[in-house]
Each structure stands twice: as C-alpha cells, then as structure tokens.
Symmetry: C2
Subunit: 342 residues, 2 copies
C-alpha cells in the first residue's frame, strides 16, 4: 500500500491508514446518482434489432468499475447540482469506453473480459466490431439530440488523442526505443486525455467557467497519468499486490518500470534483457528474470514514486480550483486510483 | 444497360442512349469543388504520429469513387453556393465512409481493397482498427470545431441505422429467413440511410429549409436503395456486366434476386437451393446452379425493375423539390448509380 505520510496533502481519511479505500466507499455518496446514470445508460442502448438487444443486455449486466462516469459525476458536483446534462455526459463517456473495450477485445483476440466471455468470443468478430460502432453512435445521438455540443467537443479531442496514443505505442513497440518522455506522451494521450475529458465534461455539465473547465481537465490529466502508471505497475507485481501479470513483457510493451531499469543498467545486462523482450519470450524463467531485474534496479520504486507525484499534482490542482467540501470525494477517488488492487 | 425508354422521366441526356454515363462525366461539373474537397480531406487527416501520416498518405492516394462527397456537393449546389460548410460536410461523410471500409476489411479478413493491399494486410488488425477510430474522430473534430452541429446530427442518425442494418443482416443470415420486406429494411438501414444523410447534409450546408432538407433525405433514401440493389445484382451477373461475383451466395447473404426466385420456386427446387446456400457451398457447379436458378425464375429481371422503380421514385421526389437547373446533375448521378459497371 502506498504511504500516505509521504504525500504532500493530508486529507481527512474515511478509514484507518492500513485500510485502502474501496470502490464501494467511492460510490456511496453518489449511489442514487449512479442508479439514475445506469438507467439512462440502459435506455440509451435500446434497439429495435432483437440480436442487438440481447447483446446490450449482456453488456449492461457485466458492467465494469464505471470509473469514467464516477469522474464525470463527482466533477459535476463541484460546480452545481448533477442534472440531466451530467447524466448524459456520464452515459456518453461510458458508451465510448464500452465501445473501445469491445473493439480492443477483437484486435487483441481476447476471449474473456471481467471474468466473462467477450462479445467476440460469443458472437464473433464481425458482430463485435458492429456492436462497438453501434455503442459509439448511441453516444453521439444521446448528446446531439439534446444539443450538448460542448460536451461532445470536449470528448472528441480525447478520442483523437486516444487513437494517436495507441498508434504511437504500437509504432514505438516495434522499435523498442521508448524513453521516459515518450512513455509519458503515450499514456497522456492513450489514457489520461480520456479521464481529463470526463472531469471537464462533468464540470461543463453544471455550468463551470471556461477557466474552471480547463483546470478540471488538467486535474483529470494528472489523475489519468497516475491511473495508467498504476495499471502498468500491476505487470511487475507492484510489491503488495502479489503475482505480477507480466502481460506487457510478453507483448513487448515497454512501460516505466522497465524503461527506468534499462536506463540504469550496464551494457551486458541491458543486452540480455532486451534480447528477452525482443524475442517475445514467453519462457517463465526469462520473464521472471526481467521482473527481478526491474525490481533490483529500483524500477518499481521509481515508478510508484512517479505515480504518487502525479497523485499529488492532481490534488494540488484540485485545491486551486475550489474550496467546495465536495472535492474530498474526488480526492478519495484519486487515492483509490493509486491504491486499488485491480 | 438499363432501358431509358422504360423510365417515367425523360431527362436530357449528355450522351447517346447506347453509352452509359461515366463517373468522369458526373465529376466534370464539380471538378474544382472536388479538388478543394480533396485538399480539405487531406488536411483533416494530418497527424503528429509518423506511422499515422504514412498510413493516411496511403489511404488518400488510393481513394475510391467518392460517391458520398459527390452526393453532398451536388445536393449543396441545389440550394446555394458550395461553401466551407459543404466541404466540411463532404469531408465528414468521406472520413466516416473510409473508417467503415477500414473496419470492414478487418472483420472480413479482406487483404485487398480497390486493387491495393488493405490496411490490415499491410499493418495488421490492431493498427487498422485504430486507424478507423482515428478517421472517425477526425471527422467529428472537423465539424465540431466549426460548430456544424446540424450536419453531425444528420449523420449520427445514419450511423445508428447503419450498424443496426448490418447487424439485422447478420442476424437474418443465420436463419436464412429473409423476406422481401426484411431485405428492404436491411438495405435502407445499411446503405440508403447514409446516402440520404449525404443529400440532407449537402442541402443543410447551403441553407435549405427544413422541408427541403427532409425531402432531400427522401430522395437520397430512394437513390441509396437503388445503389444497393445494383450492388446486389453484381453477384448474379446483372445480364450485361459479365461474370457474376457470387460472393453473397458463398457468404449466405440473401439478396433480392434470390429472395424473389425462392418465393416462386416449388418445394423441391427450394429445398435444393436452400441446401446449397445453407452448407456454405463453394463448389463452382453448385454456385452456378443457384445463379442459373435465380436467372430462370426471373429474379434478376424482377430485381432490375425494382431498382429502376426506385431510380424513378428518386427523380420524382427531386422534381417536387426544386426547378433549379442544377438538379440535372443529381439525375445523372442517380443514372450512374444504376448503370455503373462496377
């Protein structure tokens, strides 16, 4: 668990220092709002095509953590009362996120998602790609019909950045020449820009000023970077989480722990590690060697510190935006982002 | 070639009755405008990611028939001067169309497109799906940045219908129980709604009234249905076009020529044909039997007449909208749609 004492901002904690914040605690203060959001989401994906309705029910029942709608709703709360525009904003981001996941599973040939079969596993690739497109069009229609053009504009900038980020990652992965700067460029585009949009959309939905919206975007950007760093740490075990996932290593995905460790390695060590990565090695012993190398070189420690730095920067920005009491919930959310166990 | 004399509307022809209209003749009166559109299109897909820029250049160089931008520009012309909004509308529909094709090639595992390698063939599935998403986001940004919300709203309705139509087709293809009504429902959603949007977007871009926009949508709907019927006819040889493509037959796609022929077949003939279709039969002789059966039963003739009916209905609607001289170009375009050789 990360050390709260090392944090710049002391926030009033809902729990003892030993107990990390749970997702349920994050959701509790907006439980009614999340129910309304879920109802809107279900309504927005209704279809006249029988097959689509079956698939949509499947998707709705196997929902994820709903991090993005939570970012929208908690951000909306800072500047006014959560209203229909906020709910549509929350549904828009969840529709886009779901569409992305459905497409991701197709391209990654992944047959499970959240412990259930993926859409492509159950209904084949063709249907899965179309379902992704359908979800996206439903998101567009939802906000266009009500004239929430500002919310859509905020989101579409993130969509562009996201596909650029993913492509940048693929391009660099081929050549394995990712520096720390490039890593941050990729995760900013790929993940953080979307979280930033969620915060900006929430703020815009309840009448925040242009300056406030843009600051909320900055806040979300920092929180989103911390979120992705946490995800990348899971690959190396993240100290207290147990078994490393080691998926990135097998897929030749260079993330911060490895980038840092390589930057400090000597010629021969670097050569050995790079040869394992390059050859797409699935050999358990060799993967374990890479994980041990990263750990020994301080890669995990360095990365966790970076994550905490971004967590602190996020809270720092939040404090310049408003003194509203409701901001405590966004602080908890950022803490959950860096403390979560999955 | 289809018989102009059988048409309800006698239009002044640019050519002798024996010579079908070519795409170049359709493009000639808007050649300058198409150049400006292409420039806008190229500019809109520029990227800061090197790999993306390479792929975008590849896409731009291997452009297709540009039917959808032509529908937009010729429709815009009916109601005013083609301006920046019209060009953005044209670029928006071409970006969406290109995104759809790139995704289609992934799900169909198609390695060529327009005689060149497909994006998935050259850069793999993952990159192709992301490129599709990138093209879509560029389309969104292009119109959102300039506040063309009306154009986007028109298009997003078509996007919803398109994915519904494709999924409806897949659902029905499994059970092979497509009636003529269902066939028209599918092609209306899958193809015609997009062409309808193009006409409505063109009209809206140069200040047509709500009634005019909605009539142009109806016109495009009829023209779009004729367009898809023509595509489906290619599978059966379409009399004067030569070799049947027979792709739909192999993919168990039931289109009008076959639906009609089956509706008139006796029990044993129907049983035999359905067994060939059901077993996904690629046997040349059996496929030839299906094509011959469709031809003998008058399926091709019936379908061509339906196509001409829709062509006539389109021109009929166009004549109620305006007396502007420019409408002749849209008439030629609809004629090209039903006369084209590919």
């Amino acid at each position: 668990m990360f050390d709260r004492k090392s944090c710049i901002y002391q926030i009033s904690l809902p729990l003892s220092l030993e107990m990390p914040i749970s997702l349920n605690q994050i959701k509790a203060p907006i439980s009614t709002e999340l129910e309304i959001f879920e109802k809107k989401f279900r309504e927005s994906v209704k279809s006249r095509v029988a097959l689509l309705d079956v698939i949509m029910n499947y998707i709705v029942k196997r929902k994820g953590k709903q991090m993005r709608p939570i970012f929208v709703l908690l951000s909306a709360r800072l500047f006014g009362k959560i209203d229909d525009r906020s709910y549509r904003g929350a549904a828009l981001v969840e529709l886009l996120h779901t569409a992305t996941l459905v497409h991701d599973d197709v391209v990654d040939v992944a047959f499970t998602r959240r412990g259930f079969f993926s859409i492509n596993a159950l209904w084949k690739n063709k249907i899965a790609v179309l379902v992704g497109d359908y979800l996206l069009s439903k998101g567009l229609l939802l906000v266009l019909k009500k004239g929430d053009y500002d919310l859509l504009t905020i989101l579409s900038e993130a969509v562009e950045a996201m596909s650029e980020g993913e492509l940048l990652q693929l391009e660099k992965a081929r050549r394995l020449d990712i520096t720390e700067d490039v890593y941050f460029d990729i995760i900013t585009k790929k993940t953080a820009s979307f979280i930033a949009s969620c915060c900006a959309i929430g703020a815009a939905s309840t009448g925040a000023s242009e300056t406030q919206i843009s600051k909320m975007k900055e806040f979300g950007m920092k929180a989103g970077i911390a979120f992705q760093i946490k995800d990348d740490l899971f690959d190396y075990g993240n100290d207290d989480i147990g078994k490393p996932l080691a998926i990135d290593i097998k897929e030749r995905k260079m993330t911060l722990p490895l980038i840092y460790a390589l930057s400090r390695a000597d010629y021969w060590e670097k050569r050995k590690v790079m040869s394992i990565i390059k050859n797409n090695n699935n050999d358990k012993k060799k993967v374990a060697f890479v994980i041990d190398f990263v750990s020994r070189s301080g890669g995990i420690e360095y990365t966790r510190q970076k994550m905490i730095d971004y967590r602190n920067e996020a809270i720092d920005i939040l404090n310049t935006i408003t003194d509203a009491e409701e901001k405590i919930h966004l602080q908890y959310l950022v803490d959950y982002v860096v403390e979560r166990k999955k």
